[in-house]
Amino acid sequence: MSLLEVETLDSCYGDFQALFGIELNVDEGETFAIIGANGAGKSTLLTTIAGLVPVAGGRVVFDGVAIDRASVHRRVELGIALVPEGRRIFPSLRVEENLLIGGFRRRPGPWNVARVYEAFPMLEPLARRSAAGLSGGEQQMLAIGRALMANPRLLLLDEISLGLAPLVVQQLYATLETIKAEGTTPIIVEQDITQAMRAADRFACLLEGRVSLTGYPADVDRAAITDAYFGVVGT
Protein backbone atom coordinates (compact mmCIF):
# COMPACT_ATOMS: atom_id res chain seq x y z
CA MET A 1 0.00 0.00 0.00
CA SER A 2 1.31 3.40 -0.91
CA LEU A 3 1.76 6.13 1.63
CA LEU A 4 -0.25 8.52 -0.49
CA GLU A 5 -2.90 7.63 -3.04
CA VAL A 6 -4.60 10.27 -5.13
CA GLU A 7 -7.66 8.97 -6.96
CA THR A 8 -9.45 10.88 -9.73
CA LEU A 9 -8.88 14.12 -7.91
CA ASP A 10 -10.67 17.29 -9.02
CA SER A 11 -9.87 20.61 -7.47
CA CYS A 12 -11.31 24.10 -8.00
CA TYR A 13 -10.52 27.70 -7.17
CA GLY A 14 -13.98 29.21 -7.02
CA ASP A 15 -15.37 28.78 -10.53
CA PHE A 16 -12.09 27.75 -12.04
CA GLN A 17 -11.23 24.05 -12.16
CA ALA A 18 -7.50 23.51 -11.72
CA LEU A 19 -7.22 19.72 -11.49
CA PHE A 20 -9.00 17.07 -13.52
CA GLY A 21 -9.02 13.45 -12.43
CA ILE A 22 -5.48 13.32 -11.05
CA GLU A 23 -4.29 9.77 -10.35
CA LEU A 24 -1.02 9.05 -8.68
CA ASN A 25 0.52 7.29 -5.73
CA VAL A 26 3.64 7.81 -3.70
CA ASP A 27 5.39 5.06 -1.76
CA GLU A 28 7.00 5.65 1.56
CA GLY A 29 10.68 6.43 1.33
CA GLU A 30 10.80 7.47 -2.31
CA THR A 31 11.35 10.98 -3.61
CA PHE A 32 8.46 11.85 -5.88
CA ALA A 33 8.74 14.82 -8.23
CA ILE A 34 5.89 16.71 -9.86
CA ILE A 35 6.91 18.76 -12.86
CA GLY A 36 4.99 20.87 -15.33
CA ALA A 37 4.71 24.32 -16.82
CA ASN A 38 3.39 27.35 -14.95
CA GLY A 39 -0.28 27.02 -14.28
CA ALA A 40 -0.29 23.29 -14.85
CA GLY A 41 -1.68 22.72 -11.37
CA LYS A 42 1.39 21.56 -9.46
CA SER A 43 0.97 23.89 -6.52
CA THR A 44 -2.76 23.30 -6.49
CA LEU A 45 -2.11 19.59 -6.18
CA LEU A 46 0.11 20.09 -3.17
CA THR A 47 -2.24 22.55 -1.46
CA THR A 48 -5.13 20.17 -2.07
CA ILE A 49 -3.23 17.30 -0.50
CA ALA A 50 -2.37 19.58 2.42
CA GLY A 51 -6.02 20.57 2.78
CA LEU A 52 -5.87 24.29 2.06
CA VAL A 53 -7.94 23.78 -1.07
CA PRO A 54 -11.04 21.59 -0.73
CA VAL A 55 -11.45 18.46 -2.81
CA ALA A 56 -14.12 18.90 -5.48
CA GLY A 57 -14.15 15.29 -6.59
CA GLY A 58 -12.20 12.09 -6.09
CA ARG A 59 -10.19 11.00 -3.06
CA VAL A 60 -6.94 11.54 -1.25
CA VAL A 61 -5.88 8.53 0.81
CA PHE A 62 -3.02 8.81 3.26
CA ASP A 63 -1.68 5.66 4.84
CA GLY A 64 -4.96 3.91 4.07
CA VAL A 65 -7.14 6.68 5.52
CA ALA A 66 -9.27 8.91 3.32
CA ILE A 67 -8.37 12.47 4.28
CA ASP A 68 -10.24 14.52 1.70
CA ARG A 69 -12.69 15.82 4.32
CA ALA A 70 -10.07 16.26 7.03
CA SER A 71 -9.07 19.72 8.23
CA VAL A 72 -5.60 21.06 7.59
CA HIS A 73 -4.52 20.66 11.19
CA ARG A 74 -5.83 17.09 11.28
CA ARG A 75 -3.63 16.29 8.29
CA VAL A 76 -0.65 17.75 10.11
CA GLU A 77 -1.53 15.49 13.01
CA LEU A 78 -1.60 12.52 10.66
CA GLY A 79 1.81 13.39 9.30
CA ILE A 80 1.55 15.69 6.30
CA ALA A 81 3.52 18.93 6.24
CA LEU A 82 3.65 21.55 3.51
CA VAL A 83 6.50 23.88 2.64
CA PRO A 84 4.42 26.34 0.63
CA GLU A 85 5.21 28.26 -2.49
CA GLY A 86 6.78 31.55 -1.50
CA ARG A 87 8.00 30.05 1.77
CA ARG A 88 5.53 32.05 3.87
CA ILE A 89 7.54 32.18 7.04
CA PHE A 90 6.07 34.33 9.81
CA PRO A 91 7.69 37.76 9.56
CA SER A 92 6.78 39.00 13.00
CA LEU A 93 8.23 35.92 14.68
CA ARG A 94 11.92 35.28 15.21
CA VAL A 95 13.69 32.45 13.45
CA GLU A 96 13.58 30.17 16.47
CA GLU A 97 9.95 31.09 17.11
CA ASN A 98 9.13 30.06 13.55
CA LEU A 99 10.62 26.67 14.30
CA LEU A 100 8.82 26.41 17.62
CA ILE A 101 5.45 27.15 16.05
CA GLY A 102 6.27 24.51 13.47
CA GLY A 103 6.10 22.09 16.36
CA PHE A 104 2.64 23.26 17.37
CA ARG A 105 1.20 19.87 16.51
CA ARG A 106 4.36 17.83 16.60
CA ARG A 107 4.31 14.10 16.27
CA PRO A 108 6.91 11.92 17.94
CA GLY A 109 10.07 11.73 15.91
CA PRO A 110 13.68 12.79 15.51
CA TRP A 111 13.12 16.40 14.52
CA ASN A 112 13.42 19.17 17.06
CA VAL A 113 15.05 22.60 17.12
CA ALA A 114 18.53 21.20 17.75
CA ARG A 115 18.20 18.65 14.95
CA VAL A 116 16.96 21.33 12.54
CA TYR A 117 20.00 23.45 13.36
CA GLU A 118 22.18 20.41 12.63
CA ALA A 119 20.60 20.01 9.23
CA PHE A 120 20.66 23.75 8.51
CA PRO A 121 23.67 25.13 10.36
CA MET A 122 23.20 28.57 8.82
CA LEU A 123 20.02 29.03 10.82
CA GLU A 124 21.51 28.63 14.27
CA PRO A 125 23.29 32.01 14.52
CA LEU A 126 20.09 33.63 13.24
CA ALA A 127 17.93 32.15 16.00
CA ARG A 128 17.02 35.45 17.65
CA ARG A 129 16.76 37.36 14.38
CA SER A 130 13.39 38.45 13.06
CA ALA A 131 12.43 36.14 10.22
CA ALA A 132 11.50 39.11 8.09
CA GLY A 133 15.16 40.04 7.69
CA LEU A 134 16.34 36.75 6.19
CA SER A 135 17.62 36.19 2.68
CA GLY A 136 15.70 34.00 0.25
CA GLY A 137 17.86 30.98 0.89
CA GLU A 138 17.67 31.38 4.65
CA GLN A 139 13.91 31.75 4.48
CA GLN A 140 13.63 28.58 2.44
CA MET A 141 15.69 26.67 4.97
CA LEU A 142 13.57 28.08 7.75
CA ALA A 143 10.38 27.08 5.94
CA ILE A 144 11.64 23.53 5.50
CA GLY A 145 12.86 23.40 9.10
CA ARG A 146 9.51 24.66 10.30
CA ALA A 147 7.70 21.91 8.43
CA LEU A 148 10.09 19.27 9.76
CA MET A 149 9.36 20.27 13.36
CA ALA A 150 6.03 18.44 13.07
CA ASN A 151 7.89 15.22 12.28
CA PRO A 152 5.90 14.56 9.14
CA ARG A 153 5.81 11.29 7.28
CA LEU A 154 5.08 13.15 4.08
CA LEU A 155 6.78 16.44 3.28
CA LEU A 156 5.35 18.51 0.44
CA LEU A 157 7.92 20.93 -0.99
CA ASP A 158 6.64 23.54 -3.41
CA GLU A 159 9.24 25.08 -5.71
CA ILE A 160 12.04 25.31 -3.18
CA SER A 161 14.57 26.32 -5.82
CA LEU A 162 12.64 29.38 -6.93
CA GLY A 163 14.75 32.53 -6.88
CA LEU A 164 17.74 30.88 -5.25
CA ALA A 165 21.39 30.62 -6.35
CA PRO A 166 22.40 27.20 -7.73
CA LEU A 167 24.77 26.59 -4.84
CA VAL A 168 22.03 27.13 -2.31
CA VAL A 169 19.72 24.85 -4.26
CA GLN A 170 22.35 22.15 -4.22
CA GLN A 171 22.65 22.45 -0.45
CA LEU A 172 18.89 22.20 -0.08
CA TYR A 173 18.69 19.08 -2.16
CA ALA A 174 21.60 17.56 -0.27
CA THR A 175 19.66 18.12 2.94
CA LEU A 176 16.72 16.40 1.33
CA GLU A 177 18.68 13.17 1.49
CA THR A 178 19.16 13.63 5.23
CA ILE A 179 15.46 14.25 5.60
CA LYS A 180 14.67 11.06 3.74
CA ALA A 181 17.11 9.16 5.90
CA GLU A 182 15.27 10.28 9.01
CA GLY A 183 12.06 8.76 7.72
CA THR A 184 10.20 11.47 5.84
CA THR A 185 8.94 10.95 2.29
CA PRO A 186 9.35 14.06 0.14
CA ILE A 187 7.15 15.14 -2.75
CA ILE A 188 8.85 17.93 -4.64
CA VAL A 189 7.28 20.33 -7.08
CA GLU A 190 10.07 21.61 -9.24
CA GLN A 191 10.30 23.97 -12.21
CA ASP A 192 13.85 22.93 -12.93
CA ILE A 193 13.39 19.62 -14.76
CA THR A 194 17.05 18.61 -14.56
CA GLN A 195 17.12 19.12 -10.83
CA ALA A 196 13.85 17.25 -10.45
CA MET A 197 14.97 14.26 -12.49
CA ARG A 198 18.23 14.13 -10.61
CA ALA A 199 16.58 14.07 -7.20
CA ALA A 200 13.52 12.00 -7.92
CA ASP A 201 12.96 8.25 -7.71
CA ARG A 202 9.67 8.62 -9.60
CA PHE A 203 7.87 11.55 -11.14
CA ALA A 204 4.65 12.78 -12.67
CA CYS A 205 4.24 15.53 -15.22
CA LEU A 206 1.18 17.76 -15.12
CA LEU A 207 -0.30 19.56 -18.09
CA GLU A 208 -3.27 21.87 -17.73
CA GLY A 209 -4.54 20.09 -14.67
CA ARG A 210 -4.06 16.53 -15.87
CA VAL A 211 -1.31 13.95 -15.51
CA SER A 212 0.41 13.75 -18.86
CA LEU A 213 3.20 11.35 -17.95
CA THR A 214 4.42 9.31 -14.97
CA GLY A 215 7.38 7.04 -14.59
CA TYR A 216 10.98 6.63 -13.50
CA PRO A 217 13.48 9.31 -14.53
CA ALA A 218 15.91 6.69 -15.79
CA ASP A 219 13.35 5.13 -18.12
CA VAL A 220 12.16 8.27 -19.83
CA ASP A 221 14.04 10.27 -22.43
CA ARG A 222 14.18 14.01 -22.65
CA ALA A 223 12.02 14.18 -25.72
CA ALA A 224 9.15 12.35 -24.00
CA ILE A 225 9.35 14.67 -21.01
CA THR A 226 9.35 17.74 -23.22
CA ASP A 227 6.30 16.50 -25.04
CA ALA A 228 4.46 15.76 -21.83
CA TYR A 229 5.52 19.13 -20.36
CA PHE A 230 4.42 21.25 -23.27
CA GLY A 231 1.63 19.10 -24.54
CA VAL A 232 2.85 18.45 -27.99
CA VAL A 233 0.81 15.67 -29.44
CA GLY A 234 2.85 13.07 -31.26
CA THR A 235 2.42 13.01 -35.01
Binding site: A50, H73, V76, A81, F90, L93, E97, I101, A147, A150
Partner: protein
Protein backbone atom coordinates in the same frame (compact mmCIF):
# COMPACT_ATOMS: atom_id res chain seq x y z
CA UNK B 1 -4.13 73.89 39.92
CA UNK B 2 -2.07 70.95 40.88
CA UNK B 3 -0.83 69.74 37.53
CA UNK B 4 1.32 66.97 38.91
CA UNK B 5 -1.71 65.52 40.62
CA UNK B 6 -3.76 65.84 37.44
CA UNK B 7 -1.15 64.08 35.36
CA UNK B 8 -0.72 61.29 37.88
CA UNK B 9 -4.50 60.72 37.90
CA UNK B 10 -4.42 60.69 34.12
CA UNK B 11 -1.65 58.12 34.01
CA UNK B 12 -3.44 55.85 36.47
CA UNK B 13 -6.65 56.09 34.45
CA UNK B 14 -4.65 55.53 31.30
CA UNK B 15 -3.47 52.15 32.51
CA UNK B 16 -7.09 51.11 32.79
CA UNK B 17 -7.83 52.38 29.29
CA UNK B 18 -4.91 50.31 28.03
CA UNK B 19 -6.49 47.26 29.64
CA UNK B 20 -9.73 48.02 27.77
CA UNK B 21 -7.78 48.40 24.59
CA UNK B 22 -5.73 45.22 24.88
CA UNK B 23 -8.62 42.90 24.13
CA UNK B 24 -9.82 44.95 21.18
CA UNK B 25 -6.32 44.97 19.77
CA UNK B 26 -5.87 41.23 20.33
CA UNK B 27 -8.97 40.20 18.40
CA UNK B 28 -8.14 42.57 15.59
CA UNK B 29 -4.61 41.26 15.36
CA UNK B 30 -5.48 37.59 15.46
CA UNK B 31 -8.69 37.50 13.46
CA UNK B 32 -9.13 40.97 11.94
CA UNK B 33 -12.32 41.36 13.94
CA UNK B 34 -13.30 44.78 15.22
CA UNK B 35 -15.63 43.89 18.04
CA UNK B 36 -18.18 46.70 18.30
CA UNK B 37 -19.68 45.02 21.35
CA UNK B 38 -16.39 45.28 23.23
CA UNK B 39 -17.55 48.09 25.50
CA UNK B 40 -20.97 46.56 26.07
CA UNK B 41 -19.31 43.31 27.12
CA UNK B 42 -17.35 45.16 29.80
CA UNK B 43 -20.62 46.58 31.13
CA UNK B 44 -22.20 43.14 31.02
CA UNK B 45 -19.34 41.91 33.19
CA UNK B 46 -19.78 44.83 35.58
CA UNK B 47 -23.47 44.06 36.02
CA UNK B 48 -22.75 40.36 36.41
CA UNK B 49 -20.18 41.19 39.06
CA UNK B 50 -22.75 43.40 40.76
CA UNK B 51 -25.23 40.53 40.90
CA UNK B 52 -22.68 37.98 42.10
CA UNK B 53 -21.38 40.34 44.78
CA UNK B 54 -24.91 41.16 45.83
CA UNK B 55 -26.17 37.58 45.88
CA UNK B 56 -23.18 36.06 47.64
CA UNK B 57 -22.73 39.16 49.79
CA UNK B 58 -19.04 39.52 48.96
CA UNK B 59 -16.75 42.29 47.85
CA UNK B 60 -16.90 42.77 44.07
CA UNK B 61 -13.16 42.22 43.88
CA UNK B 62 -13.70 38.77 45.35
CA UNK B 63 -16.55 38.15 42.92
CA UNK B 64 -13.97 38.44 40.13
CA UNK B 65 -13.04 34.85 40.93
CA UNK B 66 -16.35 33.88 39.34
CA UNK B 67 -16.69 36.72 36.86
CA UNK B 68 -13.40 36.28 35.03
CA UNK B 69 -13.75 32.57 34.20
CA UNK B 70 -17.36 33.20 33.22
CA UNK B 71 -16.25 35.96 30.89
CA UNK B 72 -13.61 33.70 29.38
CA UNK B 73 -16.14 30.97 28.74
CA UNK B 74 -18.64 33.46 27.35
CA UNK B 75 -16.07 34.74 24.88
CA UNK B 76 -15.15 31.25 23.76
CA UNK B 77 -18.76 30.27 23.19
CA UNK B 78 -19.63 33.57 21.52
CA UNK B 79 -16.95 32.92 18.94
CA UNK B 80 -17.76 29.26 18.35
CA UNK B 81 -21.54 29.67 18.28
CA UNK B 82 -22.06 33.05 16.63
CA UNK B 83 -19.10 34.89 15.24
CA UNK B 84 -17.44 31.86 13.66
CA UNK B 85 -20.44 31.54 11.34
CA UNK B 86 -20.45 35.13 10.19
CA UNK B 87 -19.32 35.33 6.56
CA UNK B 88 -15.89 36.94 6.34
CA UNK B 89 -15.73 37.65 2.61
CA UNK B 90 -16.51 41.25 3.49
CA UNK B 91 -16.11 43.44 6.58
CA UNK B 92 -19.77 44.38 6.76
CA UNK B 93 -21.36 41.25 8.28
CA UNK B 94 -18.96 41.17 11.23
CA UNK B 95 -19.52 44.87 11.89
CA UNK B 96 -23.30 44.48 11.78
CA UNK B 97 -23.21 41.34 13.93
CA UNK B 98 -21.00 42.79 16.65
CA UNK B 99 -23.02 46.00 16.57
CA UNK B 100 -26.19 43.94 16.89
CA UNK B 101 -24.76 41.97 19.80
CA UNK B 102 -24.00 45.28 21.49
CA UNK B 103 -27.60 46.44 21.05
CA UNK B 104 -28.90 43.13 22.39
CA UNK B 105 -26.68 43.33 25.47
CA UNK B 106 -27.60 46.96 26.19
CA UNK B 107 -31.30 46.32 26.01
CA UNK B 108 -31.20 42.99 27.81
CA UNK B 109 -29.36 44.74 30.65
CA UNK B 110 -31.90 47.55 30.57
CA UNK B 111 -34.68 45.03 30.83
CA UNK B 112 -33.04 43.23 33.72
CA UNK B 113 -31.52 46.08 35.71
CA UNK B 114 -33.35 49.26 34.63
CA UNK B 115 -31.57 52.43 33.61
CA UNK B 116 -30.48 53.36 37.12
CA UNK B 117 -26.89 54.27 37.82
CA UNK B 118 -24.94 51.50 39.55
CA UNK B 119 -21.59 51.43 41.24
CA UNK B 120 -19.53 48.53 42.48
CA UNK B 121 -18.73 49.22 46.11
CA UNK B 122 -15.54 47.94 47.66
CA UNK B 123 -15.86 49.51 51.06
CA UNK B 124 -12.92 51.33 52.51
CA UNK B 125 -10.67 50.78 49.52
CA UNK B 126 -12.89 53.13 47.57
CA UNK B 127 -11.82 56.22 49.46
CA UNK B 128 -8.47 55.31 50.96
CA UNK B 129 -5.59 57.41 49.76
CA UNK B 130 -1.85 57.26 50.04
CA UNK B 131 -0.14 60.52 50.66
CA UNK B 132 3.07 60.84 48.68
CA UNK B 133 3.95 64.39 49.61
CA UNK B 134 2.31 67.73 50.23
CA UNK B 135 1.17 68.11 46.64
CA UNK B 136 0.30 64.58 45.82
CA UNK B 137 -2.18 62.07 47.13
CA UNK B 138 -2.99 58.93 45.26
CA UNK B 139 -6.16 56.91 45.75
CA UNK B 140 -5.57 53.29 46.73
CA UNK B 141 -8.16 51.99 44.27
CA UNK B 142 -6.79 53.92 41.26
CA UNK B 143 -3.32 52.73 42.16
CA UNK B 144 -4.44 49.11 42.52
CA UNK B 145 -6.29 49.43 39.23
CA UNK B 146 -3.20 50.69 37.48
CA UNK B 147 -1.06 47.93 38.95
CA UNK B 148 -3.64 45.31 37.94
CA UNK B 149 -3.68 46.69 34.42
CA UNK B 150 0.11 46.57 34.14
CA UNK B 151 0.22 43.05 35.54
CA UNK B 152 -2.38 41.80 33.07
CA UNK B 153 -0.64 43.50 30.17
CA UNK B 154 2.59 41.92 31.32
CA UNK B 155 0.94 38.51 31.44
CA UNK B 156 -0.43 39.05 27.95
CA UNK B 157 3.04 39.95 26.79
CA UNK B 158 4.40 36.76 28.27
CA UNK B 159 1.60 34.77 26.68
CA UNK B 160 2.34 36.22 23.29
CA UNK B 161 6.09 35.81 23.44
CA UNK B 162 6.68 32.70 25.52
CA UNK B 163 3.87 30.28 24.81
CA UNK B 164 2.83 28.20 21.84
CA UNK B 165 -0.62 29.74 22.01
CA UNK B 166 0.89 33.21 21.84
CA UNK B 167 3.00 32.20 18.87
CA UNK B 168 -0.10 30.75 17.28
CA UNK B 169 -1.84 34.11 17.77
CA UNK B 170 1.03 35.99 16.17
CA UNK B 171 1.47 33.50 13.37
CA UNK B 172 -2.26 33.59 12.56
CA UNK B 173 -2.07 37.36 12.56
CA UNK B 174 0.79 37.25 10.04
CA UNK B 175 -0.56 34.60 7.71
CA UNK B 176 -3.64 32.55 8.59
CA UNK B 177 -3.12 29.88 5.94
CA UNK B 178 0.53 29.37 6.81
CA UNK B 179 -0.55 29.01 10.43
CA UNK B 180 -2.98 26.28 9.42
CA UNK B 181 -0.29 24.28 7.69
CA UNK B 182 1.81 24.13 10.82
CA UNK B 183 -1.20 22.64 12.54
CA UNK B 184 -2.88 25.63 14.16
CA UNK B 185 -6.63 24.99 14.45
CA UNK B 186 -7.87 28.45 13.73
CA UNK B 187 -11.35 27.92 15.03
CA UNK B 188 -9.97 27.13 18.44
CA UNK B 189 -7.36 29.86 18.19
CA UNK B 190 -9.94 32.51 17.32
CA UNK B 191 -12.17 31.34 20.15
CA UNK B 192 -9.32 31.53 22.65
CA UNK B 193 -8.42 35.01 21.39
CA UNK B 194 -11.96 36.26 21.92
CA UNK B 195 -12.12 34.47 25.27
CA UNK B 196 -8.99 36.24 26.49
CA UNK B 197 -10.22 39.50 25.05
CA UNK B 198 -13.48 39.32 26.92
CA UNK B 199 -11.83 38.18 30.15
CA UNK B 200 -9.52 41.22 30.07
CA UNK B 201 -12.30 43.63 29.20
CA UNK B 202 -14.41 42.08 31.97
CA UNK B 203 -11.69 42.89 34.48
CA UNK B 204 -11.43 46.38 33.05
CA UNK B 205 -15.19 46.79 33.23
CA UNK B 206 -15.31 45.79 36.87
CA UNK B 207 -12.41 48.06 37.80
CA UNK B 208 -14.01 51.00 36.03
CA UNK B 209 -17.32 50.14 37.64
CA UNK B 210 -15.68 50.54 41.01
CA UNK B 211 -14.30 53.90 39.99
CA UNK B 212 -17.39 55.48 38.41
CA UNK B 213 -21.04 54.65 38.12
CA UNK B 214 -22.42 52.88 35.08
CA UNK B 215 -25.72 52.18 33.30
CA UNK B 216 -26.63 49.64 30.61
CA UNK B 217 -25.74 52.28 28.00
CA UNK B 218 -22.21 53.02 29.18
CA UNK B 219 -20.73 50.49 26.74
CA UNK B 220 -20.16 52.61 23.63
CA UNK B 221 -18.13 55.19 25.54
CA UNK B 222 -15.78 52.43 26.68
CA UNK B 223 -15.48 51.02 23.21
CA UNK B 224 -14.50 54.48 22.04
CA UNK B 225 -11.87 54.91 24.77
CA UNK B 226 -10.41 51.49 23.98
CA UNK B 227 -10.34 52.33 20.29
CA UNK B 228 -8.75 55.73 20.87
CA UNK B 229 -6.05 54.17 23.02
CA UNK B 230 -5.29 51.63 20.29
CA UNK B 231 -5.08 54.23 17.54
CA UNK B 232 -3.06 56.77 19.53
CA UNK B 233 -0.60 54.11 20.56
CA UNK B 234 -0.49 52.41 17.21
CA UNK B 235 -1.57 49.02 16.02
CA UNK B 236 0.51 45.93 16.50
CA UNK B 237 2.21 46.90 19.73
CA UNK B 238 0.99 45.97 23.19
CA UNK B 239 3.19 48.53 24.92
CA UNK B 240 2.21 51.09 22.32
CA UNK B 241 -1.34 50.49 23.45
CA UNK B 242 -0.27 51.19 27.03
CA UNK B 243 1.31 54.44 25.92
CA UNK B 244 -1.82 55.28 23.98
CA UNK B 245 -4.00 54.62 26.98
CA UNK B 246 -1.85 56.79 29.21
CA UNK B 247 -1.83 59.65 26.72
CA UNK B 248 -5.60 59.43 26.46
CA UNK B 249 -5.98 59.34 30.23
CA UNK B 250 -3.73 62.34 30.71
CA UNK B 251 -5.49 64.29 27.94
CA UNK B 252 -8.86 63.62 29.55
CA UNK B 253 -7.54 64.57 33.00
CA UNK B 254 -6.09 67.85 31.75
CA UNK B 255 -9.26 68.62 29.81
CA UNK B 256 -11.43 67.93 32.84
CA UNK B 257 -9.24 70.14 34.99
CA UNK B 258 -9.74 73.06 32.59
CA UNK B 259 -13.49 72.52 32.56
CA UNK B 260 -15.37 69.47 33.84
CA UNK B 261 -17.37 69.27 30.60
CA UNK B 262 -14.26 69.08 28.46
CA UNK B 263 -12.61 65.93 29.77
CA UNK B 264 -13.85 63.38 27.28
CA UNK B 265 -13.83 65.92 24.45
CA UNK B 266 -10.14 66.66 25.08
CA UNK B 267 -9.45 62.97 24.63
CA UNK B 268 -11.36 62.96 21.32
CA UNK B 269 -9.41 65.95 20.11
CA UNK B 270 -6.06 64.34 20.90
CA UNK B 271 -7.22 61.18 19.15
CA UNK B 272 -8.33 63.11 16.06
CA UNK B 273 -5.07 65.03 16.03
CA UNK B 274 -3.01 61.81 16.12
CA UNK B 275 -5.20 60.38 13.39
CA UNK B 276 -4.60 63.35 11.14
CA UNK B 277 -0.91 63.83 11.83
CA UNK B 278 0.30 60.26 12.33
CA UNK B 279 -2.31 57.68 11.28
CA UNK B 280 -0.07 54.76 12.17
CA UNK B 281 -0.14 55.90 15.77
CA UNK B 282 2.78 56.97 17.88
CA UNK B 283 4.38 53.53 18.18
CA UNK B 284 2.55 51.67 15.48
CA UNK B 285 3.91 48.97 13.27
CA UNK B 286 0.88 48.57 11.04
CA UNK B 287 -1.42 51.11 9.44
CA UNK B 288 -5.15 51.05 10.19
CA UNK B 289 -5.88 51.94 6.58
Amino acid sequence: MNWVNVIVQGVLLGGLYALFAAGLSLTFGVMRLVNLAHGDLSILAAFFCFTVADTLDVNPLLALILVLPAAFLFGYLLQRIVIEHVPRFDVLPAIVVTFGIGIIIENALLQEYSADNRRLLVGGLQTDTIKINEQLSVGVMPLLTFVAAIVVLGLLHLLLTRTQLGRAFRATSDDPDAARIVGVDHRRTFALALAISIATVALAGVLLGIRTSFTPFAGPARLIFAFEAVIIGGLGSLWGTLAGGIILGVAQAIGAEIDPGYGVLAGHLVFLAVLVVRPTGLFGKVAAA
